[in-house]
């Protein structure tokens, strides 16, 4: 019996505290607020829309920068909308891509309507079914600690679903100007 669910900001903070030079692509909504809150960084690309595209964006970036670790951080609703991209990623198997899905089983930005993952859908299992062999779900602090260790060590495509408390922490909003975000990100990643 789980007594307390993971806090979303604690999860994001745990995964990003040792990110080094990793680039982060955020899904829209709460995932973007989380990353902006715990680790504002010129190597972050935030989303305010384009729901369903975060994993595919991460794949494009991972293929373009094979020597750079790329981390996609997104929510369960965003991941479900782009669920086919799990198969696309699995077919390419980029060793430098890690995907973190924050699963609160709700659509947080639109009034906390119940989402599919609370009604039986298992994103880690769907990812494994799509061919992402290293896809696991974590629920506890000890599972989080173990997952963070493996997240940053070695190489290999991996996906972690973190079951999190549906509570919404205060919004921390990064720039909503995607051109500014793009230019800063590219300047940082590519130089010049």
């Amino acid at each position: 019996m789980v007594t307390s669910l993971l806090d979303r900001r604690d999860v994001v903070s745990a995964f990003l505290k040792d990110r080094g030079q990793a680039a982060v692509v955020c899904g829209l909504g709460s995932s973007t607020w989380d990353v902006a809150a715990v680790d504002p960084n010129d190597r972050n690309f935030y989303s305010w829309g384009a729901m369903g595209g975060a994993v595919s964006m991460g794949l494009g970036l991972a293929l373009a920068q094979p020597d750079m670790r790329v981390i996609v951080i997104t929510g369960d609703g965003e991941a479900m909308m782009g669920v086919g991209s799990f198969a696309t990623v699995a077919a390419k198997r980029p060793a430098n891509l890690s995907i973190l899905v924050l699963d609160n089983e709700h659509y947080g930005e639109t009034g906390m309507q119940p989402a599919h993952t609370g009604a039986g859908a298992d994103i880690a299992m769907m990812a494994r079914g799509a061919g992402v062999a290293d896809a696991t779900t974590i629920r506890t602090d000890s599972e989080l600690a173990a997952a963070v260790d493996s997240f940053h060590s070695g190489v290999g495509l991996r996906l972690i679903v973190a079951k999190i408390d549906p509570a919404s922490p205060p919004r921390v909003m990064p720039t909503r100007d995607a051109v500014e975000n793009k230019l800063t990100f590219r300047r940082t990643i590519l130089g010049g």
Partner: protein, 172 residues
């Protein structure tokens, strides 16, 4: 290119190579088959089969964030799938070239292809794309080269529509 009498598909691939395209995302279509085969065979090109066309819009965006130039290949029936994701291209001003094989026009045999085929150009224009249509084989390579130059010099989206008359109507 007046003395270039190769197949128009080969001319398109040459245009991609000349523009340093190193990623090709696609949902297969018979009209793109040769380009897809050439992309798979080229060690300097990442070929990415997509489960649905909008993935390609996000893929191309991620690639550009990482400094890689790409094109997307799809059939006209898949263009409608891209519309929401194209907001990403427009908002972030990502250079993007989408090469579309047209269905639902000249000598079409499948009525289910007509609704999207007849709205493809308008859909792109609604999404802020420039649209170039190719009806003659000798225009294919130069048009793709021009689209790549335009898109990557101005951070815009350009669609190249390869007409069904050019490709040859599908028959069974």
């Amino acid at each position: 290119m007046a003395d270039d009498d190769r197949d128009w598909r080969d001319q398109i691939f040459t245009a991609l190579k000349d523009a340093d395209i190193s990623l090709v995302g696609y949902v297969p279509d018979a009209g793109h088959a040769k380009l897809i085969e050439a992309s798979i065979a080229d060690n300097d090109i990442d070929d990415v089969a997509l489960t649905t066309e909008e993935e390609g819009v996000a893929l191309a965006t991620g690639a550009w964030l990482g400094g890689k130039k790409s094109v997307l290949l799809m059939q006209s029936s898949g263009v409608g799938n891209c519309i929401n994701m194209l907001s990403l291209r427009e908002t972030a001003r990502i250079p993007m070239v989408i090469i579309v094989t047209m269905r639902g026009e000249y000598a079409e045999f499948n009525p289910w292809q007509i609704p999207m085929g007849s709205k493809t150009q308008a859909a792109f224009e609604l999404c802020g794309f420039k649209v170039e249509r190719v009806d003659r084989a000798e225009d294919a390579g130069p048009t793709v080269a021009a689209a790549l130059s335009f898109a990557y010099h101005s951070d815009t989206g350009v669609a190249v529509l390869l007409s069904q008359k050019l490709i040859g109507a599908k028959t069974w």
